[in-house]
């Protein structure tokens, strides 16, 4: 007597992101083992990331053989003038489409790891071993040459504009002192309310080195590599007080620190961490955002010889952490945390960003070898890119029976003209059985766009693909995945229904 097929429905597979930390057996099917070039979309599904479009047209001429654009910052002046500054090829540029070299004459620049902040209608550029640069709305100069400049301009690698002044740390030969400028005068480092804070003897667990500074929840947060100092009252530096210390957790990458508005995210030796917003309480509980990929993160972090960059986009609701040396980006969904406090994480490959920048309009600029590119569309420049999703090995709650996968019913959102391959395999092996298919073309209704005398686009606003694939083979645990060549169309995995036949006990 033939057995009845068992329907195994996996709704929103992988929406919990990658999990490489827990035993795959018994894992919630919402976790994925691979989610490359994926994001968690607004509906909580695993979907393809966006691609990028090249903005710069003269990148090759101004960047030469350099790595490319390694720092980008959008500066908005009090009068509303918007200027995008970028750094690459040991030069400073303005503009996005056409990069204009505005490097101050006579200034020697040997690196492009600038950190750029604005304060009081001025834009400041800092990196270790370099004279700070200042743009006051008219020209980019060395800060010490600017009018009203005073004192020794600290050549720090880290700068923070907060509490009405600049805070600079991580100088060559001095990684234990924070210098703060006069109030609202980022170029004045003597007199007024300027000063410094030597935290050599403040570290709670022995000497540490300042890697980054941040402000959050009215606290000044000083990151060491293994410790964190939290100061209150930094609005009046002379009377600021150590409010809290965190031992064993620090920040290992200057540019990994990002404010999300309600949280502060940074990369520590053991993964991506965050302070939860605390309004009333003085304690600063911490969350381990990258808990599900902790080993991967820590391993990669140690491999990095090039700067680690990060980016937070409220519009995209992600926190990107780029390991340039390893050419991989981890994307953390910041919409909500999982029950254990971790965030859904996916990875990006191929894109290889050198830096990120968020504009006031919500756009994400990415620095690449070709110049400035914009995170949008579903092509990497003009190229298709591959999105991969693979589940963890699943036994569907029945560890002792053979499973015969008979049929896959996929529900894909988007995916027009996308070459897709469904992969499945058994018993932890990677020799997947594959079934490829290509979704057809379908136009999406474009609301608000009049297209009289054009081909009518009166279809649904959402393209839903429901391919059906016959399975084969058997095993006790099942792994399946989808590989899609993203071709200028969104691609989200809504649901996978598997019809399986349970076999004998093994």
């Amino acid at each position: 007597m033939a057995q009845q097929l068992q329907p195994l429905t996996i709704a929103a597979p992988g929406f919990a992101g990658i999990n490489t930390q827990d035993s795959p057996i018994g894992l919630d099917p919402s976790f994925a083992s691979i989610a490359d070039n994926c994001v968690i979309d607004q509906l909580g599904r695993v979907g393809a990331r966006k691609g990028y479009e090249t903005v710069t047209t003269n990148g090759s001429s101004v960047l030469g053989t350099s790595k490319g654009i390694e720092a980008i910052h959008e500066f908005i002046e009090y009068d509303g003038t918007v200027t995008v500054f970028s750094a690459g090829n040991n030069k400073i540029f303005t503009g996005t489409t056409t990069l204009t070299d505005v490097t101050p004459s006579g200034t020697t620049i040997t690196a492009n790891n600038w950190k750029i902040v604005s304060l009081a209608d001025n834009l400041f550029f800092y990196q270790r071993g370099h004279k700070p640069l200042l743009y006051d709305g008219s020209a980019l100069t060395e800060a010490e040459d600017a009018s009203n400049a005073s004192g020794t301009q600290p050549q720090g690698n880290e700068v923070l504009a907060a509490f009405g002044r600049l805070w600079v740390a991580d100088l060559t030969g001095n990684k234990h002192t924070i210098y703060f400028s006069d109030l609202l005068h980022g170029r004045k480092w003597s007199g007024g309310s300027s000063g410094s804070l030597d935290v050599t003897n403040v570290w709670p667990a022995g000497y540490d080195e300042i890697t980054s500074i941040a402000s959050h929840n009215d606290f000044l947060i000083i990151f060491g590599k293994r410790s964190i100092l939290v100061y209150s009252g930094a609005s009046t530096p002379a009377s600021m007080v150590l409010a809290d210390t965190i031992v064993g957790v620090g920040c290992i990458a200057r540019d990994s620190v990002k404010n999300t508005g309600v949280d502060l995210i940074f990369l520590s030796e053991d993964g991506v961490r965050s302070f939860q917003r605390v309004v009333q309480e003085k304690s600063m509980p911490m969350r381990d955002i990258s808990k599900n990929v902790r080993s991967d993160i820590t391993y990669l972090a140690r491999l990095q010889t090039l700067p680690i960059k990060a980016h937070y986009s409220a519009d995209e609701a992600f926190y990107l952490l780029s390991f340039e040396t390893s050419e991989i980006v981890y994307c953390f969904d910041m919409r909500s945390a999982l029950q254990d406090g971790s965030h859904r994480v996916t990875t990006w490959s191929v894109i290889n960003p050198l830096c990120f920048a968020l504009t006031a309009s919500g756009d994400t600029y990415i620095g690449k070898s070709t110049g400035i590119v914009k995170y949008e569309g579903y092509l990497d420049n003009t190229e298709k890119f591959q999105m991969r999703y693979f589940s963890n090995p699943m036994d569907f709650g029945n560890t002792s029976n053979l499973k015969f996968l008979k049929k896959f019913n996929l529900t894909i959102i988007g995916g027009q003209n996308t070459e897709t391959a469904l992969n499945w395999g058994y018993d932890y092996l990677s020799d997947y059985s594959k079934q490829s298919f290509t979704f057809g073309t379908s136009n999406i209704a474009e609301y608000g766009i009049s297209e009289y005398n054009e081909e009518g686009e009166y279809s649904s606003s959402i393209v839903i693909q429901t391919p059906k694939v016959n399975g084969s083979g058997s095993g006790s645990v099942v792994t399946f995945g989808i590989e899609a060549q993203i071709n200028n169309a969104a691609f989200s995995i809504q649901k996978i229904d598997i019809l399986a036949l349970l076999g004998r006990l093994i």
């Binding site: 234990h176 006069d182 007024g192 804070l197 030597d198 935290v199 003897n201 600021m240 007080v241 210390t245």
Partner: protein
């Protein structure tokens, strides 16, 4: 008679001159006598009222006076030793007064700071601990140098130093003032025995005055009595001189007559009586001469009249030439007046 009247007038003139000359001589003699007596009385009074040195002896020493009015305050060896000791102590104190006030201030300042430092160190340690606990030990600001608390503490310390410096200065000056007072007191004390000696000298002087007043009063009384006697002697000699002049005039009148004209009366030698009996009763060594002590010229007047011619000229010569001794006296008088 005409010749006899002229001679009589001439004799009268001479007799008058003579008696007046005798009066002058007597008056000069009286003055000389009074001068000598007065000089002798002054000398006696000076000798009687002269200061007689005396000595006052007390428990602190003996004070001796000398004839010139000076005195010597002599202290006993014990008092001298005590005085020297007090003055030595006073000198020591005065040395402090004139000493370097800056050094004294510095010493006092160090003492005051020595008292303040432990508390300041405790506060500094507390602040350091507080700043360390607050993670602010390494805070340096352009406003305060360090933290506001460090600035406040440093300010308080500096103010304490200033106050200590001011206090030390004031105290040093006060101590100098005190040393000056003590030195002056000791110095004053060292002279107390001499003051006591002076007081005793004053008391002794009063006692000496009692003895001296008697002598001075005696000398004064003696002088007053001598002056009274001298005045009485002068008056008596003046009266005696007047009487002598009257007597001589009477004798002249008796011998030469008096009056003129119808009132003319002849004398014994000018025919006023019996010519046989016209002789001088005042001849030398006659009993009248011895009784009246008549002048020589008068007692020899009889010889003049008895030898006519030459006798008259001798008489005139006697009258106008005068006695050589008297002329010498007059010359002496003139010389003294000129001198």
């Amino acid at each position: 008679m005409a010749d006899g009247g002229f001679l009589t007038d001439l004799l009268n003139l001479g007799s008058n001159y003579y008696t007046q000359q005798q009066g002058i001589s007597d008056t000069l003699d009286i003055g000389r006598g009074a001068l000598g007596a007065a000089t002798e009385m002054g000398t006696t009074a000076v000798g009687t009222s002269a200061f007689k040195p005396f000595t006052v002896t007390t428990g602190t020493g003996s004070t001796t006076t000398d004839a010139t009015g000076g005195f010597n305050l002599g202290l006993t060896p014990q008092q001298l030793e005590r005085q020297k000791a007090l003055q030595t102590q006073a000198n020591t104190l005065f040395g402090g007064v004139t000493g370097d006030v800056s050094q004294a201030s510095s010493d006092l300042y160090n003492q005051i700071r020595g008292l303040q430092l432990p508390e300041e160190q405790r506060r500094q340690q507390m602040l350091n601990q507080q700043l360390q606990a607050q993670g602010r030990g390494g805070l340096r600001t352009a406003q305060y140098g360090g933290t506001p608390e460090q600035f406040a503490l440093s300010k308080a310390q500096e103010e304490a130093k200033n106050a200590a410096a001011y206090q030390a200065r004031t105290q040093a000056l006060g101590e100098q003032q005190q040393q000056l007072g003590l030195g002056a007191g000791l110095l004053g004390q060292s002279y107390i025995p001499q003051q006591q000696q002076l007081a005793a000298l004053s008391a002794g002087t009063n006692l000496a005055n009692i003895a001296n007043v008697g002598g001075r009063t005696g000398a004064q009384l003696q002088t007053q009595a001598g002056l009274s006697g001298l005045e009485a002697l002068l008056q008596a000699q003046q009266q005696a001189g007047a009487l002598r002049q009257g007597r001589d005039q009477d004798l002249v009148s008796l011998l030469l007559g008096s009056g003129s004209g119808i009132n003319a009366t002849g004398g014994l030698l000018t025919g006023g009586g019996d010519s046989s009996t016209n002789s001088n009763p005042f001849t030398n060594d006659s009993w009248l001469d011895q009784l009246y002590d008549t002048p020589d010229w008068l007692s020899s007047l009889d010889d003049i009249f008895s030898s006519s011619g030459g006798g008259l000229f001798g008489l005139l010569s006697s009258l106008f030439g005068g006695n050589e001794e008297e002329e010498e006296d007059e010359d002496d008088e003139n010389e003294e007046g000129e001198t």
